[in-house]
Symmetry: C2
């Protein structure tokens, strides 16, 4: 397919390369020039604006940081909306607000341009391996058009519902992750306060009803005091802000989400925004004046 690709960050670069490997005809746009050169070497054409990346394309993928960035590259000056034609499918793979997604989709629909929201999980490792989970919102017919692109980038492609439903499910994913992570952190704190070896605790409980991806993957890192990011605190804070804003729009009361967001705010305030989400442990260590493992 002829596809425009806007946003060559840590996720976008390997995703665009996987589209090239699968034989798609990719035209990239990125604000900074370094990633553009990297993708040009990999065989992509380079556009000077999002508008140019969208002109004459069957589909345009955007993957940028936050809601205002999506509004800017799609609806702003020289944006995707100026280049895309009626029948083009615009696929936003950023994690942003479901409400902003629907607003952008409505503006595109006025020009006959279809939109899908398709945020991903699986991190940069999943982006490189082409094994992302892709949570898709929008019309089923548009998803079918885009499916060859999704299959080049991901493994698990779930149609979650109408436009915005992909973003909603991605936020559900983050809500579940942070609750689970808080449980793991508090279990480690409990063991540390009691003087029990946290590795023994993890060994004893990981395989049973307390087990989780968070415990198996981040628990040992916390005990080894490895806070290198898989997913950064700063980005998780952005996603939790989106979840809390969306909960506000829906009048949903989620006390666990609120608590975890406050603890992550403390981690960020301590200057740890660039560490991995397992640094949530440090907020609890600060409350308790103990350190786990090390």
């Amino acid at each position: 397919m002829k596809v425009g690709f806007v946003g060559l960050g840590i996720m976008g670069r390997p995703m665009a390369k996987n589209l090239l490997k699968a034989g798609h005809n990719v035209t990239c746009y990125n604000r900074g020039s370094g990633p553009r050169d990297e993708l040009a070497e990999a065989g992509a054409a380079i556009a000077q604006t999002p508008k140019e990346a969208a002109a004459g394309m069957e589909a345009v993928i955007t993957i940028v940081t936050d809601s205002p960035d999506v509004e800017h590259v799609i609806l702003g000056p020289d944006g995707v909306i100026e280049g895309a034609a009626s029948g083009t499918v615009v696929i936003d793979m950023s994690t942003i607000s479901p409400e902003v997604t629907r607003r952008v989709g409505a503006a595109l629909a006025e020009r006959g341009i279809q939109m899908l929201d398709a945020p991903v999980s699986g991190g940069d490792a999943g982006a490189i391996a082409g094994t992302l989970s892709i949570m898709v919102g929008g019309e089923a017919a548009a998803l079918e058009k885009a499916r060859p692109l999704f299959e080049a980038m991901g493994q698990r492609i779930v149609h979650c519902g109408p436009l915005g439903a992909g973003q909603t499910v991605k936020l559900c994913n983050q809500v579940a992750i942070t609750g689970t992570l808080l449980g793991v952190c508090e279990a480690l704190l409990f063991a540390a306060k009691a003087g029990v070896d946290p590795n023994r605790m993890l060994e004893a409980v990981s395989a049973g009803a307390a087990g989780s991806w968070q415990m198996s993957n981040l628990g040992p890192k916390m005990v080894q005091r490895d806070f290198a990011p898989g997913f950064k605190v700063g980005l998780m804070r952005k996603d939790l802000r989106l979840a809390i804003e969306s909960a506000g729009h829906m009048q949903a009361a989620l006390p666990g989400l609120a608590l975890v967001a406050q603890l992550f705010a403390a981690v960020d305030a301590a200057g740890l925004g660039e560490e991995g989400t397992q640094a949530l442990l440090k907020a609890l260590e600060g409350l308790n004046g103990v350190a786990v493992g090390g």
Copy 2:
């Protein structure tokens, strides 16, 4: 081995039967007579008091409900302490307070009787299948004496540390479970409020970083509104009380634990103490005036 067995509840009955199957010589005591008859049929001898169940035994297992029950059957009138000899290993497999465990152990030690705490996870299904996880606290030498008994009842036997460490790790297990469960419940609520099919949400996120035993096993039950107990709300409330008491002794601040305990208090107050722990969802549904799935 010659082993006394005190407490023939939903867990104790199948555990005692697995000891018999493995060829051990088992003498049972239980307050009520129904389970005694069941075990007598399975080949156990029956004692009239915990003291009698302990007399002449190499090991005595207790598995009763709460801390005062353990104190009563071990240290009370006609208790295990009156029948056990120096060299007997007393193995408490109940889930109780680590502090009470150490107090009971100290009283036994004065008579030369060794104690292990060895709470389990895996539920009645694990007790029947002989696949329990057993979290052991106490002297390594006592654990080695008891190992043939543990191997008849469980699959994963972890030495967690000195006396009380098994209970500590069991409480860590419950802390991790409830945090994870809260994350799953709030993710379901978020999807429901947004009008997204909760089954699609679970399908999209279960295999990734948000995945957990709680999500895979209890998530679908919640959506189907199946609140039959694997593990009852009332028993989880007991365990969370033990965790909060123990955290109090240790001066540990665990805000997630406190929040989940309050939500379970609301579930119990609504008369749902006999339902499974997945009924935590109902507290959040009450807060939000919506129901998930159904």
